[in-house]
Amino acid sequence: MKSTLKRAGYNKVQRQMNDVFIQFTSKVIFLIILLFSVNLFLAGHYTPGGGFVGGLLAASAIILLLMAYDYETVKKMIPVNFHLMISLGLALAIVVPTLLFLFGAPFFTHQHTYVTVPVFGEVALHTAVIFDVGVFLTVAGTSLLIVTLVGGTEK
């Protein structure tokens, strides 16, 4: 963000910008937002939420970091290739429903089962989660890619 401002001719503003507060709080808030996005993502099956909202929220957490620090620092913190993230998300979103043909049901018919895990008790396993991970990755990757491209910080 700083480098963008500098290129746009905001040297003076940049010198006056006091980053301490936003950098400190964003480090704390980042984790909270990320946890909340995971919570929303997992809530998605029966209650409002899901991969799309979760992905947007996760992206907004990273965008908060981008605002507080600059692109290079964030890249060092979270070394993820957004292109690969989108490809992986799309692949999960198409391959999982396609593979469900093997169960002999129509396209996109998800399968689920219940397993008993020692500490948590009975846990539902659902293929829709894998599909939703794909949505999550695609949405987060796309919004981050758009923000970094419009910000002009990615080479």
Binding site: L90, A91, I94, G104, A105, P106, F107, F108
Partner: protein, 497 residues
Amino acid sequence: MTTNILPMLPIILPFIAGVIMLFIGKRPIPHRMVSAVTGLMMVGIAAFNIYYVYKNGAMVTFISNWSAPFGISVVYDMVAALLVFTTSLVMFFVVIYSFQSIGYERERYYYYPMVMFMITGINGAFTTGDIFNMFVFFEVFLLASYVLITLGSRKIQLQEGFKYLVVNIVSSNFFLIGLAYLYSVTGSLNMADIHIKLSNYDGSLAIMTLVAVVFIFVFATKAGLFPLYFWMPGSYSAPPMPVIALFGALLTKVGVYAIARTFSLFFTSDTAYTHQVLLLLALLTIVAGCIGALAYTDMKKVIIYNIMIAIGVIIVGFSMMDYAGTIGGMYYLIHDMIIKAALFLLVGFIIYRTGKNDAADLGGLIKQHPVVGWTFFIAGLSLAGVPPFPGFFGKLYIVESAFDNGHTFSAIIVLLSSLIVLYSIMKVFIKVFWGEPSEPIELKDIKSDKLLFSAIGLVIVSTVFGLSADFLFPAFEMAAEAFYNPSSYSNYLMGVE
């Protein structure tokens, strides 16, 4: 099991191919291989699907196993089967054509994945049985087409791409509004279910007519009907040739398909008004297209205005909504998808070879390229609808239906438009291939074996289609039945409820 997977494959395959290419990264040669192989596979599967639908009737699959009026259903009837087959065929030839024409830089920046995603959207719009899902697939192929029209970032592309973007966003919004109206009237989004609900509909006719007008506005914008074609000649001449071929052959036809589908299934109560409006717009489109086709000597522009004439003719057939009219409409729709792609590819070859867009600057090309010249001649005859070629059968049925319904004037306009089409395309042929150029032309040395393979291949496909029109007639009869007898389309709901 087979009916679960077969109707989905034309949507899944190009999507998977696109994703694979995204993983491969900016390497054009593997991209070419993946897209060509996908194209071949899709042609094979679509051909098998036609056979399967012909033997067993429409394939229906309920996505996620939600039963019909509630979930999304994919209805792969004969109309969808024929259109998907033609789409796959055109896509395959255009992809082969792109190898030597689109340019290395565009190939690196994900040209082929975008083509694949666009085909996903187009096939989805053809096969879905849910009107909201159709809107979603419209957005899918429009998003990909925004990328294709601006890819390369030449000034003209950005300028026309922006126009295209604004026009389509506005019309998509109206699509959504129309859907909301329709849903508030019927309480359903499944097209077959809406048809059943509306056939027992005793509410106000005014609201249905309003919905019909909103839908005409939306699909007329996408298809390029008369008052709303203003964006088409500009936007379609901006991108490189293979993209124009894809757009001209496929995108406008999706709009035509949507008009045919909605006006046969939904708006059956007040046909005296809605279908008359459609007929009037179609005739005006033909006239406007004729004026454009006569006015220009720019080869791209001539063919783009010919798209408008063809769309007008198809809509005349569908606005009759009887047996002969819809068979003619189907024939002409399929014919036009193939021959428009072929003509764009041929013109593209001439443009790449000579570097000139305007037919008036050219001449005497028949000495260097006799095969291309005569192929162009055949394609021109086919476009105008001279008997052994497929355009003839479509026009025959459309004109017959127009006379039967007492629309003598429309029939005469359709017949006269054929003459103008023939004149406009022969004018291009004579200027480009005969005579002597006003100033000597420097022929560029380009690799052209794949260009010629695609262009001539499509003309051969069109000719074979014309010669086998009689053999294919039962399939077209079956396809047309979904339009003139819409209850045959909504039959699949009977088994479910």
